[in-house]
């Protein structure tokens, strides 16, 4: 069985809490708050005003640039105000507040569960539709999908790599989506293959989801050009560069995008959103989230409309247990502990993990013993011990020459460190500073 070739770790997957729990819809909130920053790139520009009536699926904010995405209203009601909110980490960002009244959808959205597998649109029209629907990568990075589908001149896509890996421990939303909506995902893959003008797609799924592998294999056997690649367990297999290496044995060069080796990577959740946008005219207004943890009453996979406060989602999942020490947005490896659970659900949040107090405290960092475990664990071939030291001494230029920008924030180094050193903490600071320096240099030119 294949896996990627450099580095990686193998944390316990802990998926049993929420695995195979049917996707359930979370009731609509009284008031929806839709942040204008839900993706990588420029913030969206609101096009509604205070007092406007909006319906579900109506465009309320336009993309603010090429790398940006539209935002649609996930609820129907009246726009209350456009104001600043605090995000899950306490930082301010602009958002549209909507008072929810009923649940009135735009008439062109097809809400029937029938599966529509005929797509007569041209490649360009498909990309236009995906762009209009505001679809971004739901795997975590939230990179606008339409940008990926338009390779820069001189580059051609050859393979679509579908990310069904879900290598983050605890999270099960993609797994459940594949089980429940496999057929739609398969149609979505065909739509994307048409949009890219390619005839080959590989679905990578880790072997801890045997039922999903079997299900997708069965569906793929009826579909031309699509194959399923069962993968050995290894974190961070869901990182796009690692997945390309694992599935099609190509290595993306340092600093380049996957298109350099002819690959386009999309998450299964993104592909399901593509299906809904192209075949059902439904823009991206909801997503499946995992709420899980050892002591959560009803852990499971929840279909959440954007704008619903995460605390509401938590209530549906049985409330926050008293022993909770940390609530993490996302999985335990890449997610960040939140300090504000009134934050509304959005395209970015793929799950909530409630860790009990006993598991949430960090170990006391000891001195580096130069064992080199972080170096062998780094899936990008970097030297985390060195980068973290350089960051602590603020040697930003040296960090740049040691390729800090290749770091994918996976946290393998910190996970594997026997001295519990806060390697990623420092590398993240360095990455932010070096990135700002590079952008400043580019702007000066």
């Amino acid at each position: 069985m294949k896996t990627f070739r450099i580095g990686g770790v193998h944390p316990h997957d802990n998926k049993t809490y929420s695995a195979h729990k049917q996707i359930t819809e979370v009731p609509l909130p009284q008031k929806a708050v839709i942040p204008l920053v839900q993706h990588i790139g420029a913030p969206s520009k609101p096009i509604v005003q205070k007092g406007d009536e909006v319906k579900v699926g109506q465009l309320i904010a336009e993309a603010g640039g090429f790398v940006s995405a539209n935002i649609h209203s996930p609820v129907s009601g009246k726009v209350q105000k456009i104001d600043a909110i605090k995000d899950a980490w306490g930082m301010t960002m602009p958002a549209i507040f909507i008072d929810v009244e009923g649940d009135e959808w735009l008439p062109e959205i097809d809400r029937t569960p029938t599966i529509n597998n005929i797509c007569k649109l041209e490649a360009k029209e498909i990309i236009e539709k995906i762009k209009a629907a505001g679809i971004v990568g739901l795997g975590g990075a939230c990179f606008p999908t339409h940008v990926k589908l338009m390779p820069p001149p001189g580059k051609t896509a050859e393979v679509l790599v579908v990310n069904g890996v879900e290598c983050e421990p605890y999270l099960t939303c993609d797994h459940q989506l594949m089980l429940e909506h496999g057929e739609e995902i398969m149609i979505g893959i065909q739509i994307l293959m048409k949009a890219l003008g390619i005839s080959k797609a590989v679905i990578g799924i880790e072997k801890n989801k045997p039922d999903a592998i079997e299900h997708m294999q069965k569906l793929a056997s009826h579909t031309l050009g699509v194959s399923v690649e069962p993968l050995n367990l290894r974190y961070p297999q869901g990182g796009e560069k690692q997945l390309i290496d694992a599935c099609i044995r190509r290595q993306v060069p340092s600093g380049a995008l996957p298109i350099e080796v002819g690959a386009v990577v999309d998450n299964v959740a993104t592909i399901y959103a593509v299906y809904e946008a192209v075949q059902k005219n439904k823009p991206l207004i909801s997503r499946v989230m995992t709420v899980t943890g050892k002591e959560v009453k009803n852990p499971g996979n929840y279909l959440v409309r954007f704008g619903t406060p995460l605390s509401d989602v938590m209530t549906v999942a049985g409330g926050v247990p008293e022993t909770t020490g940390k609530i993490i947005g996302g999985g335990p490896m890449m997610g960040r502990a939140m300090n504000n659970i009134d934050m509304p659900a959005n395209k970015r949040v793929s799950g909530m993990l409630l860790l009990p107090e006993s598991e949430s405290l960090r170990k006391k960092p000891e001195n580096c013993i130069r064992c080199g475990k972080c170096v062998s664990a780094c899936p990008m071939g970097l030297e985390p011990y060195l980068l973290s030291k350089l960051s602590a001494y603020q040697r930003w230029d040296d960090m740049e020459t040691h390729n800090v920008m290749d770091c994918i924030d996976c946290g393998c180094c910190q996970f594997t460190c026997p001295s519990a050193r806060p390697l990623l903490d420092y590398i993240r600071v360095g990455k932010a500073t070096v990135g700002a320096n590079i952008r400043a240099r580019a702007a000066a030119k």
């Binding site: 605090k86 306490g90 930082m91 903490d425 600071v429």
Partner: protein
């Protein structure tokens, strides 16, 4: 016996030869250097802190010897006195400069700023700032991990365990600016030391709207603009919901201090009660508490007060 003489002669000759050779080479490749550089460097404090903007004390000495005037060349550690000595060596007049001191512009003490989360990660402000808002709700205030303390080479800044905020020892502070650079939230500022070390500044940099700022911290500047109206010298500007006092325009009348409804404007080293100066604005409910705080502050630093300088702030 013979062997001793032979070895002594051989060694002596070799040493002599080497000495001659070294002397010739030294003369041939002699680097002509301004002899005053060494003299100037001797006068400089030798802290190599980089506060002057040069790589170290020697680099500043070189720059001083090359320059035609001493304008813009200042050793913040040594201050005016050192520059006067440098000027004497070089025969130049030192540029006039006001002594500066680092000022921490956050008064979010433990009582004023309720904690909303607990952070157990790396104790570094830079790291916390990259991660999230910090342990309190204020996204602009001091994080209290002490990056400024680590940056200070002179031991002039320390975290007060009671307030959780850094405090500057103005006797030790050399205004090199290392803490200003180290603070990821840009709270620390170099301000004029002021006559008799008297200073007034806005003790907050929170850019949130008034209500939000106040919710997160009782001592926050809410950007109400009362101080701006009170100031007769146009020294105060309110931008992005936070007031700022221009220390070059401030005449130390202290009207803004009593006008501030949240007590965000801080005064230091003033006499406890300004008897000859009647305060125009009616004293607020918080005034007595403030007064006692002030008195406390004054008693604390009274021993540090410098000999009075007859220097009035310029317009």
């Amino acid at each position: 016996m013979n062997i001793i003489w032979i070895s002594l002669t051989v060694l002596g000759c070799t040493a002599l030869l080497a000495a001659v050779l070294l002397y010739v080479i030294a003369q041939k490749f002699k680097v002509e250097e301004d002899p005053r550089i060494d003299l100037v460097q001797e006068v400089l404090p030798g802290a190599n802190c980089g506060g002057c903007g040069f790589a170290g004390c020697r680099a500043l000495a070189e720059a001083c010897c090359k320059a035609d005037t001493l304008d813009g060349l200042l050793c913040p550690v040594g201050g005016q006195e050192t520059m006067k000595k440098v000027g004497d060596i070089l025969g130049l007049a030192p540029a006039a400069s006001d002594p500066m001191v680092a000022v921490v512009r956050c008064n979010g003490t433990c009582e004023a700023r309720p904690r909303t989360s607990r952070y157990d990660g790396t104790q570094s402000c830079r790291v916390v700032n990259a991660l999230y808002v910090g342990e309190t709700g204020c996204a602009f205030g001091c994080l209290g991990c002490g990056d400024c303390v680590k940056a200070c080479q002179f031991g002039a800044i320390n975290i007060n365990p009671q307030t959780g905020l850094p405090e500057v020892d103005e006797e030790k502070c050399t205004s090199c600016g290392a803490c200003v650079k180290a603070c990821p939230r840009h709270i620390i500022e170099l301000r004029k030391k002021g006559p008799k070390s008297r200073r007034i500044w806005v003790d907050c940099v929170n850019k949130d709207k008034g209500a939000v700022a106040r919710k997160n911290c009782l001592n926050a500047c809410i950007g109400c603009g009362k101080c701006q109206k009170e100031c007769q010298f146009e020294a105060i500007t309110v931008e992005n919901n936070v007031a700022y006092i221009d220390f070059n325009k401030c005449r130390m009348c202290r009207k803004c201090v009593s006008a501030c409804p949240t007590g965000a404007i801080h005064e230091l080293n003033f006499p406890p009660k300004p008897a000859p100066k009647p305060v125009e604005a009616a004293p607020k409910a918080e005034a007595p508490k403030q007064e006692s705080q002030k008195a406390e502050a004054v008693t604390k630093v009274e021993s540090n007060v410098e000999p009075a300088k007859k220097e009035e702030p310029k317009q």
